[in-house]
Symmetry: D2
Subunit: 409 residues, 4 copies
């Protein structure tokens, strides 16, 4: 029996300074075995190089690396694109979408290795702790949750480096790290440093993924995207799988400086924070998708999608992925998305992606429209009757008032 | 008594070909006096030059030009900016906002001159007929409404030109007019011609107001906007009135190619149409306003504003300005807007306007925030309790399932 | 070729005075063949007795009676119950739900018999014309729609009786008919007569289905309903099919005077009307369903259901059944409903149905709850952290204000 | 300096067992002065008898009783009635509305007496702790908050009685108390005991305020309520102030067994609880108000009110009264409510209140309606045009599909 009562913990491990210190801390403080869990959600190969050795060197009994990239795209990104969810009007939810997937797989591994606890390296002021623990609550309420940043005494990179040095654990981490970042296939986020003052413009050195729009090519580029019942299927007519699709869009989007966002947002834990985000491929994809929706949704459907998109975005942001409500909204969105088939051309230029052509077999603005005779679909005379009844409540109200006052209003 | 029973009609007159033909048609067909009403909502001085003479030459008994520009900004544009309303995610409602104001003043004039009817030159397939007539229904249900395009036999510019030629009424209108446009202080819209095929990119010759982003200056420009309780008050620290504010933002926005939009939208009358819009100053203003909202609204308030903004936008688009519902939403929005005080810097570059700094005395991300001691506002330890209760429903559901199945899920 | 160009019309035929007159009118005026279509949606056997003969006697070339009762329950009533939709807070949508089903089957028959038109007997001021024609638009936009009440000159029962008498067609219809009614398996509605003044209490003679609550048994009655994933399956433990379920609930509900409603509602066509409704079984069923939802939905899910229910109800009321939006909302609702399994006891007494017990294997208020140790699920100490972060925006706002004013607020 | 650092605390004091024990506990544990604050929100005169002496006997240095009844009605109840807010479809928010008022006044007293802390006697599993502390956070973030039930070791009535006995403080509290209750002018709530099993019907002995419906008079009673711009002004034509209005409605409602509710609800802290509520006068008032709304709101306004009512109810329930969002929604609701003028008759009978007549000068179903000539307001022929455009999206979609498939759908 360990001193904490915990025998084995699975830690969501990134290989960064924080989780590198958490491994020995868990071993020391809890007296338990630590299994490192690495989720590959497209954070980059350099992040994964030698990560198993690093984990073991820190004291982990084992290290499991799961390639979750394709699942991330098909089961998390695509539903969110279909919902059109953009948190508080700007944030494309890159980190938010990845966390429930990572935590869900972490639970799976915990079951496989017979762990009795799970741990993460998120701080106590952020959103990610909520997203991890909301997933744990929904999928493994019996597992203990350990969040060292909320309980240990360390408060800074210096503290962590000192802690590792004491134990003779090597690290390549530097003392100074200006920005706090999270990267995956969909995006990279930046917080901290000069970003923290809202009166500072985004610092040029914060951006890492996309070209500065002013340095992007002077000639724009067009890219055609094809969709089949809500799912993107081809780039410029060439069929590509989900992973390749996002990667290729990222590549061209980055060149043109597409997808930079600067936002002061409301965190789940009640405070505001300012973040910079780069989502090059995602920005292209969402622009294309939204433009195709314009062709195939009638007004009521568009309103429903807007409304569901807001709600879905809030659920994703706040970590409420494994919930009744997220499932239900996704079912509604999927029903709408079944009509989103067609092709869109997006122009990339100096930081922006703009749809310039759209076509769909389900278009309500069909190319065949002109061939509908006037008598078949729309008579201008219908408008009079339509308007009279559409505005009838206002007319009745006004007439009532006139009658009441004995004449004109 | 006239042959139609109508004695005097006030026509919303623009001086264009359509209303130039409607004046004599009303005189001929209805046998009534026609009073021309011209609303100056900032469509441009050249549109108003000699318009009174033109109206009389067409057969109008009089022509009244009302300068509605400032009222347009303060009573229609500002509330819509405060609501953050953007129809179907893209259209900044330029034409939609102007119509109820124009129609309301047209009713006022009709009362003053003792008219028994009002007329407009909108076609039977569009939104504007609804907006005019919804206002007439709400404010003057006793007045007859005449919409010649829905009833006369003419179908083309050629028909109108022939009609005028027959009557010896001169016109400078050309036989060919590719695009149908509507301009005011806030925007200009373009429809028709090559725009009508959604597989055509926006034609370069359609745009009239803004520079092509690729031809815009290679060096961007920053502009600072100040707001006081929801109302913009200054540009770069210099106090300006509402009219000048919009005009100056239009001027600089146009230079940088800001505010172009290409949209397939759902019209009120049930069909889709494609429109191009240029709203240079408006785009800057809404970006600035939204960025200030980020500082001062908490999450619930942001959600409410998003929700009210969608509803408000639909009401404005569909002509439902003079309604119980628009008034109520505006009251709610005004309550929120009372907090929107502060300053925002917006960067204009190659077609886009992006907020880069924000400050507000009402900021919930206050510059003083750092000075709140950890113990005063936020304890990291609070997060554990927060998360446990925030996710309690998921935990209970999972535990119930585990208990039911006699063990782990 | 007929004089109207129409060869064969399928008429939604009820056997009442209106459609009895419409048959010969269609023959006379359009010179076409008329096929009568009778939808049995549970309006009562007496309504169907001899209806085929009656149709032929009126001049129909054929009469088809379709039993749609079970489909009505499973495909229209159950989804609406699951959505919890009650129009404007009171109306249980009895007529609204039946119309799209009837019109859809009418279209099927029109295809089978090769008709080129469809007709209905709805008046031009009501909702039902919209519901029929919305279905025709969605499923058979090529068929002509004939709505005699909007076009013929007749205005009263006397006119119709005279019209039939002229043609020697017998009818048992009386000259006087105080109330206009619509009945089906789910409800009966009443309009007209004294009901039309909102200052009259509901006239006692209007009600036809339910006992007057004051005359209902002095001893109430309990009924247990079982549900399986959103579908009612048993009464008092006895499994019953959908048709029998509604019929039995109607029987017991009527005895206890359950389900009377008196409402001034907003019609689709823009005017208000007052209606009385009796929905005895439906009221019991919806009370039971809602009570079970209380056990199984968490707060977010409850909010989503409330929101979707409002929207779904509006779509059903306005005839927008065969639309993208109704399908999508139903998909979302079905996802939620999958959890609604369990049993509810409802007490019927003097006009009302009230759930008194509830149980569910999916309950979030599980009977096992007490057995969750305090440490397993809920620590009272968690509440402090929860509340501190839940209210953090208010605290920050207040502290900012205090700091700004140099002290306490 | 006290041992806790706290000098003076204002306690929300009820005179019940819990707060009677909290007074000496605060004195003992914190070593501070305790000021008792009693809010009279209509909980009943017997609850207030001798309360000042009792507070002092428990060790309070002073006791302040504030009569908040009228403010409760005008500033909390009436806005909630106007919003039509009913939490989760059933709960009329009696306790929820009172808490922010009580806590706000408690803060006022704390400022007056120079206290540095506030305390309440709510348990750690309930909603009320959130409501109190949310108010403290918004109005007095600098004051310490003390919630003994979350921190002390006592867990039962026995513990409290023993604690008081040790200190020689007399109490009339009994060892056994089956139900936990909260009463005010608007309602009384009941929890605990047999109520806690959802398979138990509401126990007869739980109800304290209203007659059992089965024992209520066999002859119903009618009551007429008058409203002026959203505010109730008279009963049966007699003008009454807000306090008297609620009291008189309570009296007659109780006799007829009106306003009993049995609900399993989602608490703010994430768990479900079952509660019984009695709101006799409130039920009558809300029925009357809703019935008047039916006359004066058009469809859009009704939808907005329904939507705002849901949101407002959630804010009230969760203690979010002193927030940006509650203020904004209330402003929107107030705009709507300005039209709610008129008279409603409600019939009370055997447990229920049902509006039977309605009239309003702002009615959109005006008694003058019949006098509007057909030509003035509604032409049946308008319906055709209306329906064709109302259903145009469905028609276009269907035609597109037919064209695509080369013929009929």
């Amino acid at each position: 029996m360990s001193k904490s009562g915990i025998q084995k913990v699975v830690l969501a491990y990134s290989g960064g300074l924080d989780t590198s210190a958490i491994v020995p801390w868990l071993v020391d403080e809890l007296g338990c075995e630590v299994v490192a869990f690495v989720a590959d959600v497209g954070q980059g190969e350099h992040e994964l190089d030698g990560i198993e050795e690093k984990a073991r060197a820190s004291g982990a009994s084992g290290c499991y690396v799961y390639d979750l990239r394709e699942e991330f795209v098909t089961d998390y990104i695509y539903p969110t694109v279909q919902a059109g969810s953009v948190y508080e009007g700007r944030y494309l939810l890159g980190t938010s979408m990845a966390r429930p997937l990572i935590a869900m797989k972490q639970v799976e591994l915990a079951r496989e290795v017979g762990a009795d606890a799970v741990a993460h390296g998120c701080t106590g002021k952020g959103n990610d702790q909520v997203r991890f623990e909301a997933t744990f609550a929904a999928l493994a309420p019996d597992l203990k949750v350990i969040a060292p940043w909320r309980t240990w005494g360390m408060r800074s990179r210096e503290d962590l480096l000192a802690y590792l040095a004491e134990r003779g654990i090597e690290t390549t981490a530097s003392k100074e790290k200006i920005y706090s970042r999270d990267a995956n296939l969909w995006h990279i986020s930046h917080e901290g440093g000069l970003i923290e003052s809202t009166t500072n413009p985004p610092p040029a050195d914060a951006w890492t993924l996309t070209a500065d729009p002013s340095a992007a090519p002077d000639v724009g580029m067009e890219v055609a995207l094809s969709f089949d019942r809500g799912t993107p299927t081809a780039i410029n007519g060439e069929r590509v799988g989900p992973l390749e699709l996002i990667e290729r869009l990222n590549a061209i989007g980055s060149v043109h400086g597409v997808g930079r966002v600067d936002l002061v947002e409301n965190r789940t834990v009640g405070m505001k924070s300012r973040g910079l985000y780069e989502t090059p491929g995602g920005t292209i994809l969402m622009e294309a998708y939204a433009s195709l929706e314009e062709l195939v949704y009638d007004r009521d459907a568009m309103r429903l999608r807007q409304d569901l998109g807001l709600k879905f975005g809030d659920l994703v942001y706040t970590g409420k992925w494994f919930t009744q409500t997220r499932e239900a909204i996704q079912a509604g969105v999927a029903s709408l998305a079944a009509r989103v088939t067609g092709e869109v051309t997006v122009k990339l230029f100096k930081g922006h992606a703009t749809a310039i052509t759209r076509s769909s077999p389900n278009s309500l603005y069909s190319e065949d429209f002109a061939t509908f005779g006037e008598d078949e679909v729309y008579h201008q005379g219908d408008a009079e009757g339509f308007i009279r009844l559409f505005t009838l409540p206002e007319r009745i109200a006004a007439l009532s008032k006139q009658h009441a006052s004995g004449g004109k209003a």
